[in-house]
C-alpha cells in the first residue's frame, strides 16, 4: 500500500547539469521525491527517452535534496559516464523530462547518542555523505570526513566536505591531491587520531570490504552503502542481491535495494560475493 514514505514515480525536469572533475552533477525538479528523501536513499532513472532500447533503470544515490528549490522540490545526483545509459544522461539538455522513481531504499541509520563518526567516500561514492554529515551534526555527532580516489579529478565534494565536516582528509593514489595512497593505507592513523566510534562508507566494493575488515578488527561498526547492479530498484527483479548474515545468523541472498542499500559491513560475506556461500538459506536445493 502507498504510504507517506512510499516511493513515488514522477516526471522530473532537468534543472541543471554540470561537469565536476570527471563526474556530472545533475539537479532534477522531482516534486514529492525531494520532500521524502533522507540521506542514504537513492533514485532510479529511466534512460534513453521514449520508447527506449535501454530497459533497466539506473540507480543513483541522492547527493542533495532541497524541498524548496526555485523549481519546487529538487534532488541532485552525481554520476560518472560509464556506459550508454549515463552517456545519454550526460547529454540531456536543461528542461528535459526524466522519469524518476524514488526515494528508494532505507536511509542511513543514525546513532541515538552523539558519537565520533568518520565518513569515508571513494570517488563519487562520497555523494550521499554530505547530507548525512548535516544530519549527524544536528544530532551532536562529531563528523570527520575522508575522501579518496585514484586522481584529484576523481575526488568528489572537496568544497562540500570542508563545509560539512569538522575536518576533511583527502587521499589520492597518484598523490596529486592530499595524502598519497589508498584510503585504507591511512585509516589506522586517522581512526586513532579521531577516536572513531562509527564509520559510514560509500564507494567501490573493494574499498568497502577493506574498510569493513579493518573496522571489525578495532570493534568499530562500519555502515557500508553498497552498489550492486540493479534492474528495477524497487525490489521485484532479484538481481541486486548480496550474501548477508541476518540477526538470526542465517545467510540469505538479500536484495540490496529494499534491505539496504547500507548495511553493517560485518553482516556482508565480502569474500563470497559472486558465489552462493555454503549454508545460505536454500543453497542446498539449487538444482
Amino acid at each position: 500500500m502507498a504510504t507517506a514514505s512510499s516511493p513515488l514515480q514522477v516526471r522530473g525536469e532537468v534543472i541543471s547539469l554540470k561537469r565536476v572533475g570527471e563526474y556530472y552533477q545533475m539537479a532534477i525538479a522531482a516534486p514529492g521525491i525531494a520532500e521524502r528523501a533522507k540521506p542514504g536513499q537513492f533514485v532510479a532513472l529511466a534512460v534513453g527517452g521514449e520508447p527506449t532500447s535501454m530497459l533497466l533503470r539506473r540507480a543513483f544515490s541522492i547527493y542533495a535534496a532541497d524541498e524548496r528549490g526555485v523549481f519546487g522540490g529538487t534532488i541532485e545526483i552525481v554520476f560518472a559516464r560509464q556506459g550508454i545509459g549515463t552517456k545519454w544522461l550526460s547529454q540531456l539538455p536543461s528542461h528535459s523530462s526524466v522519469d524518476i522513481v524514488g526515494p528508494l531504499g532505507n536511509p542511513f541509520p543514525i546513532p541515538a547518542s552523539p558519537l565520533k563518526t568518520l565518513l569515508i567516500g571513494g570517488g563519487y561514492g562520497s555523494a550521499p555523505l554530505f547530507s548525512l554529515a548535516e544530519v549527524l551534526r544536528t544530532r551532536g555527532c562529531r563528523v570527520e570526513m575522508f575522501l579518496g580516489a585514484a586522481t584529484g579529478e576523481r575526488l568528489f565534494g572537496i568544497v562540500e566536505g570542508r563545509r560539512a565536516a569538522s575536518q576533511l582528509t583527502l587521499v589520492t593514489e597518484d598523490g596529486s591531491v592530499g595524502l598519497r595512497g589508498r584510503v585504507t593505507d591511512h585509516l589506522d592513523e586517522l581512526m586513532t587520531r579521531t577516536q572513531t566510534e562509527l564509520i559510514y562508507a560509500c564507494g567501490p566494493m573493494g574499498m568497502l570490504q577493506a574498510i569493513s575488515v579493518f573496522a571489525k578488527e578495532r570493534s568499530v561498526p562500519a555502515q557500508c552503502l553498497v552498489e550492486e547492479e540493479m534492474a528495477c530498484g524497487i525490489g521485484v527483479c532479484m538481481t541486486c542481491v548480496l550474501p548477508i548474515r541476518g540477526d538470526d545468523g542465517v545467510i540469505r541472498m538479500t536484495r540490496t535495494c529494499v534491505a539496504g542499500p547500507s548495511f553493517d559491513g560485518d553482516t556482508i560475506l565480502w569474500e563470497e560475493i559472486g558465489s552462493i556461500p555454503s549454508g545460505t538459506l536454500g543453497a542446498e536445493d539449487l538444482g
Binding site: L56, I234, T239, D285
Partner: protein, 330 residues
C-alpha cells in the same frame, strides 16, 4: 468461425470497453496480469498502484523448499531486452502460502500462483499445498520452462512427454476443474506439440512465452556476463517470437485459453497478443522499467480497443486470424 460485426469508426464519447475475460472457469475483470518473476509477490508494486485494478497478480514461481537462487551477477542489459539468471530464488511454498498470499489476498487482488519444481513429485506436492489455501488462489501457473536450471535437459517444457507428466501430476494434485496453466518455452522445435500434450494432460490453458535462452559475453572481462553463464532473454526484443507462438498455438487449439506474454511494453503490444489469440496478457520486464506498467498498459489497451471499434475485449481475441473476406462494417 462466425463473422464479427465491428463498427470500425471511433466511438463517440466516453464509451467504456468491457474488458472482462475468461480463462476456463476463471473470470477476470481485465485481461492484464503481471508475469511471474517480474512482480515478486505483489507487495513492492502495491506502493505504485492498487493491485486489484488489474486482472490478476501472477506471483514469482515458488518451489517446495527455500531456494537461494544463483550467484551474482544475475543480469545483463541487451538491446531492447535483458538477460536474467536469477535461478528461482524464493522462500519455499510453506512460508509463501503463510505470509505472502494472505497479505496479497487482503489487497483484493486476484492471485495466480506460479509453481516450479525439480521433479514431477515436487510440482505435485507444491500444487497440493497451494490448493489447500482454497479460493484465495484463483489459478496455478505451472512453470515447466524456466531456463535457469543447471541441467537444460530438465526443462520439462522442451519435451512433450515430460511436460505432460508434470501437468498430469498437478491436475491429479489439485483435482477437478481448478484452472491450471502450463507455461511454455519458445526454445522448442514445435511448440504446438508441447501445447497439445499439456492440454491433453489436463491443462486448462497455456501461458506463453517464457524467456529465450541466451548468452552475453563481457568484452572487457572476456567472460560470460552473468554468473549462470546462460540466462533468459526477455523484453520487447522477443515480442515477435511470443506473438508468433501464440498465433500458432491458437490456430491449432482455438478453444484453449492462452495467456500471452513476451516483451509487452504498451497497450498496442498487448493488443497484438490479443489479436494473435491470447485471452489475457502478462506484463513482465516492462515492470522493471516502469513500476506502473501493468496499469498503464491496461488503460492503453482499453483506449485502443475503443478506437478500433470494439465494445468488448472478447470480440478482439484472435481477430487477427479472420479471413480476408471477413471485414465487415467498414
Amino acid at each position: 468461425m462466425s463473422l464479427k460485426v465491428v463498427n470500425r469508426k471511433s466511438p463517440e464519447g466516453n464509451m467504456s470497453v468491457d474488458l472482462r475475460t475468461t480463462l476456463g472457469s476463471l473470470l477476470l475483470p481485465t485481461p492484464v496480469l503481471t508475469a511471474s518473476g517480474c512482480a515478486g509477490s505483489g507487495k513492492e508494486l502495491s506502493a505504485f498502484f492498487d493491485l486489484s485494478e488489474i486482472g490478476a497478480i501472477v506471483t514469482k514461481s515458488i518451489m517446495q523448499n527455500p531456494r537461494s537462487g544463483r550467484a551474482t551477477p544475475r543480469m545483463a542489459e541487451t538491446p531492447s531486452g535483458m538477460l536474467n539468471s536469477i535461478g528461482l530464488q524464493g522462500p519455499g511454498v510453506e512460508k509463501f502460502m503463510n505470509e505472502d498470499v494472505p497479505w496479497l489476498a487482503q489487497t483484493g487482488a486476484r492471485i495466480i500462483v506460479s509453481i516450479a519444481g525439480n521433479s514431477v513429485e515436487d510440482f505435485a506436492r507444491t500444487a497440493a499445498r497451494v490448493r489447500r489455501a482454497g479460493d484465495v488462489v484463483s489459478a496455478i501457473e505451472v512453470n515447466i520452462s524456466c531456463p535457469n536450471v543447471s541441467n537444460r535437459g530438465l526443462v520439462f517444457a522442451c519435451d512433450p512427454i515430460s511436460a505432460s507428466e508434470v501437468i498430469r501430476a498437478v491436475r491429479r494434485s489439485v483435482g477437478g476443474l481448478f484452472p491450471i496453466f502450463a507455461k511454455l518455452s519458445p526454445d522448442v522445435t514445435d511448440i504446438v506439440s508441447v501445447a497439445k500434450s499439456c492440454v491433453d494432460a489436463g491443462a486448462t490453458g497455456l501461458a506463453m512465452i517464457n524467456t529465450l535462452l541466451g548468452l552475453v559475453i563481457d568484452t572487457k572481462t572476456m567472460r560470460p556476463k552473468v554468473a549462470g553463464i546462460t540466462g533468459g532473454l526477455s523484453g520487447p526484443a522477443i515480442r515477435p517470437v511470443g506473438v508468433r507462438a501464440v498465433w500458432q498455438v491458437h490456430a491449432a487449439l482455438p478453444k484453449v485459453p492462452i495467456i500471452g506474454m513476451g516483451g509487452i511494453m504498451s497497450g498496442a503490444d498487448a493488443f497484438e497478443y490479443i489479436l494473435a489469440g491470447a485471452s489475457a496478457v502478462s506484463i513482465g520486464t516492462a515492470t522493471f522499467h516502469d513500476p506502473t506498467a501493468a496499469l498503464r498498459i491496461q488503460n492503453e489497451l482499453s483506449n485502443l480497443l475503443a478506437e478500433r471499434g470494439f465494445t468488448a475485449l472478447k470480440e478482439a481475441i484472435a481477430y487477427g486470424h479472420r479471413a480476408a473476406d471477413e471485414e465487415v462494417g467498414q
